[in-house]
């Protein structure tokens, strides 16, 4: 157990310490890092910890939500204004894991985990950072080069309130119930102006080597169109165009490609 733990009460000091040490990592809820600690992972030597009272804020301000990166899944489940994210949070681990796992940690979770990030990408979330080196990024920018941001501390996640809760859907497909590891995760957000779909978001988790990822071809077909069953059929027909699906111990590349249109259709038909 040759790890050094550095405790901080000031977030900017913690951010500086993390940025300055390429063998350091940030401890949020512990559900990712402690696995590595238990395996005696040699990729990091220092654990940067912040006083537990930080990053726990949940703020609903008019049309915007702000959730601290240290907010745990159980707090999201019990928050009265975050009902639309309840099922997303409940899909992560059992109750004990949900008491520890944080939103910030989920953004850094590798396949087959990180399901909450799919929902955040569908909600067009923005990530805010501590320190002077980086202020904020869209989740899309963040996910494209996630490894570059491992030495930054995410303070909070913001996103706009949904006009209609039914615009958003989240589906985690697993082999075991009530809880299992994701084979694929699908989050969709079909914002509508009148009958027209505007800026749709179709996001997959555990589909490719990098998670999560948007399905541009489906989004293009839906953009600006009137919602109808024919449109959904057409959109689903182009699912995974240009996306290289992954094979892992849970499912083959072929199987993922086979089941995705089925579940994507179910997600989109819920509207």
């Amino acid at each position: 157990m040759s790890f050094i733990i550095k405790n901080f009460t000031n977030i900017n000091d913690a951010a500086d310490a993390l940025y300055a040490d390429d063998k350091a990592c940030f401890y949020s809820g512990g559900t990712i890092i402690m696995r590595k600690v238990n395996e005696a992972d040699q990729s990091f030597k220092t654990i940067i910890k912040l006083d537990k009272s930080h990053l726990k804020e949940i703020k609903v301000d008019g049309g915007n939500f702000l959730i601290g990166s240290g907010v745990t899944m159980d707090k999201i489940i019990s928050h009265p204004d975050l009902g639309f994210l309840k099922e997303v949070a409940r899909s992560i681990g059992g109750p004990a894991i949900r008491c520890a796992a944080t939103l910030g940690g989920n953004l850094f979770a590798n396949n087959p985990y990180g399901d909450f990030s799919c929902a955040l990408m569908a909600l067009r979330a923005k990530l805010n950072f501590a320190g002077n080196t980086l202020s904020s990024l869209t989740i899309d920018e963040f996910m494209k080069n996630r490894d570059n941001f491992r030495r930054h501390i995410i303070t909070s996640i913001t996103f706009e309130r949904l006009q209609n809760l039914s615009d958003f859907s989240f589906l985690k497909i697993t082999r075991t119930l009530p809880k299992g590891i994701s084979l694929i995760t699908i989050a969709t957000n079909l914002v509508r102006s009148g009958a027209q779909i505007i800026s749709p978001r179709i996001v997959y988790g555990n589909m490719t080597e990098r998670t999560p990822i948007r399905d541009d071809s489906v989004e293009k077909i839906l953009e600006g169109q009137r919602y109808s069953e024919d449109l959904i059929e057409k959109a689903v027909g182009s699912a995974l165009n240009g996306i290289e699906t992954r094979t892992d111990g849970l499912a083959s590349e072929w199987y993922r490609r086979k089941i995705t249109p089925v579940y994507l259709k179910r997600s989109l038909m819920r509207k």
Binding site: M1, S2, F3, I4, I5, Y27, G30, T31, M34, R35, V37, N38, E39, I47, K49, K52, D74, R90, G93, G94, P95, A96, I97, C99, A100, P178, K179
Partner: protein, 157 residues
């Protein structure tokens, strides 16, 4: 290696100790406190065998830093029996044959206790969700669910 002092309650008894940097709570409870009722399963947070309660909430002790228990209330199954009398959950597990090899039992009971503390009359679905982080390879879960329901049915609302 740096040592940190922690002051906490272990099964309602005040304790003070030193923990190592990076030491997980499971290791601390078993090796330093000698509480062998907490079981080491996977070390990955997947099996739930090491589930304990911290301030009444379920906690995977293998994924928790030992230093995080400072000023906290830690409960393990060792603290459940009352002067030799079994806790209702322990008795229900016995009566319903909810333990076979017994390795998951301590974690199962602590997860069930966390649920019943907050919700004395849970539905079957709520019980299933509460133990969804605990793996049992012997019983097929039905006997465990029945045992928890037994206690739930005896609870007065």
């Amino acid at each position: 290696m740096t040592k940190k002092a922690v002051h906490f309650k272990h099964n309602n008894k005040d304790k003070s100790a030193f923990v190592d940097d990076g030491q997980n709570l499971l290791d601390f409870l078993r090796r330093d406190l000698g509480d062998l009722t907490v079981k080491y399963g996977c070390g990955q947070g997947t099996c739930g065998a090491c589930t304990i309660l911290i301030n009444g909430n379920p906690c995977i002790s293998c994924l928790t830093l030992a230093e995080d228990i400072n000023e906290q209330n830690v409960e393990t199954i060792a603290g459940l029996n009352n002067n030799g009398n079994l806790h209702p959950l322990q008795k229900a597990f016995m009566d319903n044959f909810a333990a076979q090899c017994g390795y998951c039992t301590t974690g199962m009971i602590m997860s069930a206790k966390a649920l019943l503390n907050k919700n004395p009359r849970p539905s079957k679905e709520e019980i299933i969700d509460a133990i969804s982080g605990n793996i049992c390879r012997c019983t097929g879960y039905e006997a465990i669910i029945n045992a928890i329901m037994d206690v739930s049915n005896k609870n007065n609302v």
